[in-house]
């Protein structure tokens, strides 16, 4: 997957979690926590959704890398390079 495709995939996961939010205005450089007020339970969800949908395993020490859309895509790009969209 390309970084663009990964971004779409993450957006899709976020849309599933926060169904009432409009994510069209999401700023890739601002933390999810601030923009969407996601809490630690929700972060666990992003991790588990990635595992469920793409079989990507994210070790706990890497959770901070999922802070914003920008950092998440950057972190996932090498991990998901071989997955077809």
């Amino acid at each position: 997957m390309t970084p663009g495709e990964i971004r779409t995939a993450v957006l899709d996961i976020l849309e599933g979690i926060a169904q009432d939010d409009d994510l069209g205005q999401l700023d890739d450089s601002v933390a999810f926590r601030e923009q969407l007020e996601l809490d630690s339970m929700d972060f666990l969800d992003i991790v588990m959704e990635l595992r469920k949908r793409y079989r990507v395993q994210i070790p706990e020490e890497d959770y901070p890398k999922l802070e914003s859309m920008g950092s998440t895509v950057e972190y996932l790009t090498p991990l998901m390079a071989d997955i077809s969209a």
Binding site: G16, I17, A18, Q19, D20, D21, L36, E37, D39, M41, D42, L44, D45, V47, M48, R51, K52, Q57, E60
Partner: protein, 462 residues
């Protein structure tokens, strides 16, 4: 072999089930009753639907709110806010002799009521609010502090203390006389800082959504399949035995049936400690009126009343019921959308404290008579706090501690379970965890949160 077996198809079991099935676990919910919902179920009588439980969904926050339990559980369950179609309450009150404190989903109403009835308690009330906002759950030690001690230090007006305790104890206190401070904070937020709402179609709408989602994710729900034993192997739970003798194996077991009840499933009836179980049970008289309650001048959603300056929260000792305090609820008095209009029938429900032991020991005829007698007495006590509606009643029923027992199997028909809560859901056995009432979160939103929290923590954590 299941990944997780869940005992009980109440709110907490269904919520945990959805969460686990969503992440591809093989999950089975076992329910002894013929229907789902547990304490929050419904039944039909004379062609009408009656709710057991649900007066109001607590923790109401408006669409778009991102914080708080309601928003959190919607995200966790992947529901939209509109799926629960909640309509807000009109207004509620705490009614003591000569003093009435109104409150609504806007905190400022209660604030201004306190300012006018108890002017010198305004600052203490703000201090209490500060403490409640600060309070962080899941610390067992702070959780168990005595609420009465905390409040007595803050307030100089004992009547206000009683009045604040009354609704919060009614809607979620398993302990007699006093309340764990943690529970107090949770209930205060859910009732005064967030608020009341109800789906036009009642609790069945929420239950239908939960069960449909669980099944669509591949979860199995087995009704009339009570669990009679939890199988143990070297300190670990490994499966269950059903009432019909069948055995089912599971890697993890979540029990929503209560802590004393769960211990008994593990150790057999010899180990039963009914004394540790909760003591507080209810009767509720439900009257169907030939008109809407507002047409007889009753517009409030819920009234928590008490007939003296001291609020007594105990199992009645001399009588089958204690009618000194009660809750008047009218499901009509919510702000339903114009499309829905009014509920077809006017309904007044009145809840009072009841003694499970006295109700449980009656034969059938005496039970029927007791229902009539106490229905009259409870109503007579309540109409001191609302217009007399007795002439307009066209049908009625009463549920009792026996009903609660039948819907939940809780020892003593205890509505809020055992007084001692196990906040981390752990038991003496590995792979066996408590969710629901005895984990500490009560109410509809609370028990759903409980199911989610425990499922996440023990059955899903990577």
């Amino acid at each position: 072999m299941y990944d997780t077996i869940i005992i009980g198809a109440g709110m907490s079991g269904l919520a945990a089930g959805i969460r686990l099935a969503y992440y591809d676990q093989k999950v089975c919910i076992l329910e002894r009753h013929t229907t789902i919902g547990g304490l929050n179920s419904f039944y039909r009588l004379n062609g009408r639907d009656y709710d057991v439980g649900l007066h109001a969904v607590t923790n109401f926050t408006p669409k778009g709110t991102k914080k708080g339990p309601l928003a959190r559980l919607l995200r966790q369950l992947r529901f939209k806010w509109d799926d629960f179609s909640l309509s807000e309450q009109v207004e509620s009150s705490i009614a003591f002799p000569g003093v009435n404190l109104k409150f609504s989903n806007e905190m400022d109403l209660l604030r201004s009521e306190i300012a006018s009835c108890f002017p010198d308690q305004v600052d203490p009330f703000e201090r209490l609010l500060g403490k409640i906002v600060e309070y962080d759950d899941l610390n067992q030690e702070i959780y168990e502090q005595s609420t009465r001690e905390v409040l007595d230090e803050i307030f100089t007006e004992p009547l206000l203390v009683e009045m604040l305790l009354c609704p919060l104890m009614w809607y979620g206190n398993a302990r007699e006389d006093d309340m764990d401070f943690g529970q107090f904070c949770i209930m205060f937020r859910s009732i005064f800082l967030e608020g009341f709402a109800r789906p036009f179609k009642g609790v069945r709408l929420i239950l239908k959504n939960l069960v449909r989602r669980f099944r669509s994710l591949g979860g199995e729900l087995l009704l009339r399949k009570g669990v009679s034993q939890i199988k143990l192997d070297e300190g670990r739970a490994v499966g269950v035995v059903l009432d019909n003798g069948d055995e089912i194996e599971g890697r993890n077991i979540l029990s929503s049936v209560g802590r004393v009840e769960t211990d008994r499933l593990c150790l057999g009836s010899g180990a039963s400690q009914v004394a540790k179980a909760g003591q507080l049970s209810f009767v509720e008289t439900i009257s169907i009126l030939d008109r809407q309650p507002r047409d007889l001048g009753h517009e409030q959603t819920i009234v928590f009343y008490n007939d003296s300056n001291k609020f007594h929260w105990r199992r009645p000792v001399d009588e089958m019921c204690d009618v000194r305090t009660g809750v008047i609820c009218s499901p009509n008095n919510f702000r339903y959308s114009p499309d829905d209009g009014d509920l077809a029938d006017g309904v007044i429900r009145i809840t009072a404290l009841a003694d499970y032991h006295r109700w449980g020991n009656l034969d059938e005829d005496d039970y029927r008579l007791a229902k009539i007698k106490w229905s009259d007495q409870v109503t007579a006590a309540a109409i001191k706090f609302m217009p007399d509606y007795r002439r307009f009643v066209i049908d009625s029923d009463m549920f009792t501690p026996n009903t609660i027992r039948r819907f939940t199997w809780h020892d003593n028909g205890a509505v809020y379970g055992a007084p001692e809560k196990i906040l981390d859901g752990s038991t003496d056995w590995q792979n066996l965890y408590l969710c629901g009432t005895d984990q500490g979160y009560v109410g509809i939103v609370g028990s759903i949160m409980s199911g989610l929290t425990i499922a996440n923590r023990y059955c899903l954590a990577p």
